[in-house]
């Protein structure tokens, strides 16, 4: 069914991404590709991988943005990983003509059934965030599964039952949990740090949240050369300045 679940999911699994901490190393994107190319939506096909125009299916991508304050001051670079936000009101689900695209009632994860997808690409048009990835080779749409084949995998030690992007992040900028439960660690983090939705005006009610970079005083515009030499350096300076 492409209708959204009749009973809105109580449990909302999702990610909280800390833009203050992310260093833009792309490890999350690489591990995502590595895990998922043999997972639920395998393979993540690449076309022309060693040629002039390599392209491929990625569920997670890291963009880097430059933010320039008023009067060109307070500029900062923000690394910005983006994957499916597993929206409450996911338009990619309701536009699907076949029922291949669906949102799970038990945990809110949005998935695609590759056996019934006709590859019409309408879901990728309906998603404002660009979370959908078309596999030219398989002729079906693919997307972030929130590592549904990892987070419930009882063959893995419990600590490893988190999405690949989360377990691999070297700076701990990615958090995974139940955003439907206000007492969960991730919800507490969102509350404490002012976590926000991307493009709230699109009305999709994304589950994933982003934590803003912390406010830091802008760096002084220019560093002056140090002129007040003293001690031996001062003596040499005096000698040579004659």
């Amino acid at each position: 069914m492409t209708s959204l679940p009749k009973n809105p999911p109580q449990k909302k699994l999702g990610l909280v991404i800390d833009l203050d901490i992310c260093v833009g190393c792309h490890a999350c994107a690489v591990h995502c590709k590595e895990w998922n190319t043999s997972g639920h939506s395998a393979p993540l096909t690449d076309t022309d991988p060693y040629g002039a125009e390599p392209s491929g299916v990625w569920f997670n991508r890291v963009h880097s943005f430059e933010v320039i304050g008023e009067n060109d001051e307070g500029g900062r670079t923000v690394h910005f990983p983006k994957s499916c936000l597993h929206c409450d009101d996911a338009p990619c689900v309701t536009v699907c003509p076949t029922g291949a695209s669906y949102k799970r009632e038990e945990d809110g994860i949005v998935l695609v059934n590759a056996d019934t997808c006709i590859g019409c690409k309408l879901c990728s048009w309906a998603c404002p965030y660009g979370a959908r990835e078309y596999d030219e080779d398989a002729g079906v749409m693919k997307k972030c599964t929130l590592c549904v084949d990892k987070i419930y995998n009882e063959n893995l030690p419990e600590a490893e039952r988190v999405p690949a992007c989360v377990s691999t992040c070297p700076s701990n900028a990615r958090h995974f949990g139940d955003l439907g439960n206000p007492d969960s660690e991730v919800s507490q983090l969102v509350a404490a740090r002012g976590g926000y939705d991307l493009m709230p005006e699109q009305g999709c009610k994304p589950v994933n949240k982003y934590l803003p970079p912390r406010e830091t005083p802008p760096a002084p515009a220019f560093l002056e050369p140090k002129m007040d030499a003293s001690g031996i350096l001062g003596w040499v300076d005096k000698l040579l300045s004659r």
Partner: protein, 294 residues
């Protein structure tokens, strides 16, 4: 948006086919023309070739039947269901020897099918150029205008030709207003809202995720079509103007060849209009890839 040839052909051809059928039923109702098998045949051929070409852009055309299942939520599914249902009263119209009531029912279903096609686009919020109140009237008007222009090739008198002129003129006018709207407005989504970093200042892409292109950039971030949009807009306006003058001049009588040429011109111009509808549309995804507005 990437202007897929199959979708441009589909919306133009099937629109013209449905428009031709509706025009015929209305003209018959007003006593301007007699319903005839050739017109139905042509409209049928246009609709079917449009539907077939629309399945060409699917990754799995053999699964197309599945698209009929989700009519509760999906306009694409509704369009599929309506397009098939329309064939029933259309067929009955022929079998009952042009019973007017059945003709009107078939015309209503044709109208609804074109409406559903337009709603597929109008319902997509991330695309500012489509998510507005021009999309549905434009699709309906262009279907009727192209259909009516085709109908004068086969039947009818000056009333029908005058209707074609008026429909073409109306479609043209609304199109001009649409382009003005497109030039003067942008999506409420910005690079700042897309990243949530607006409170720190102006947001610019510093580094894209890849050195090369990807599906999102090719499908949603397509820009080549926009490069020539002003020239194509002018070409469309000139062609529609020429067609209006040609039919207007031969309102009372004229050589059929004039109407043949006018119909070809109108179809070509409508293909240009449809190409621009896709090529000029920007998607919010582009905001993550360096676009400053959507």
């Amino acid at each position: 948006m990437h202007p897929a040839k199959s979708v441009i052909l589909f919306t133009t051809l099937s629109g013209a086919g449905y428009g031709l059928f509706i025009s015929m039923v209305v003209a018959a109702g007003l006593g301007w023309a007699e319903p005839n098998l050739i017109v139905i045949g042509v409209s049928f051929a246009l609709i079917v070739s449009g539907l077939l070409s629309s399945t060409l852009h699917l990754g799995h055309p053999e699964r197309a039947w599945r698209a009929l299942s989700q009519w509760r939520t999906s306009w694409l599914s509704r369009e599929g269901v309506l397009s098939i249902l329309t064939f029933i009263p259309m067929g009955l119209y022929i079998l009952t020897g042009w019973m007017p009531v059945i003709g009107w029912i078939a015309a209503a279903f044709s109208f609804l099918t074109v409406f559903a096609t337009a709603m597929i686009y109008q319902s997509l919020k991330p695309i500012h150029a489509w998510h507005n109140h021009f999309t549905v009237p434009l699709y309906l008007l262009f279907a009727l205008a192209t259909g009516c222009t085709l109908l004068i090739l086969f039947t009818g008198g000056w009333e029908l030709r005058l209707s074609a002129v008026l429909l073409l003129f109306l479609a043209d006018t609304i199109q001009l207003f649409y382009w003005r709207y497109l030039d003067e407005t942008t999506s409420s989504s910005t690079p700042e809202s897309a990243t949530g970093l607006g409170k720190f200042g102006k947001v610019k892409l510093f580094e894209a995720p890849h050195t090369e292109s990807n599906y999102l950039m090719q499908e949603m971030g397509y820009r080549i079509g926009r490069k020539h949009s002003q020239k194509l807009r002018n070409l469309f306006l000139i062609l529609y103007g020429v067609a209006v003058i040609m039919i207007g001049y031969t309102l009372h009588d004229g050589p059929t060849i004039i109407w043949n040429i006018a119909a070809m011109i109108v179809l070509t111009a409508t293909l240009i209009q449809r190409w621009l509808f896709f090529a000029e549309a920007k998607h919010t995804v582009a905001l993550y890839y360096g676009a400053d507005s959507a």
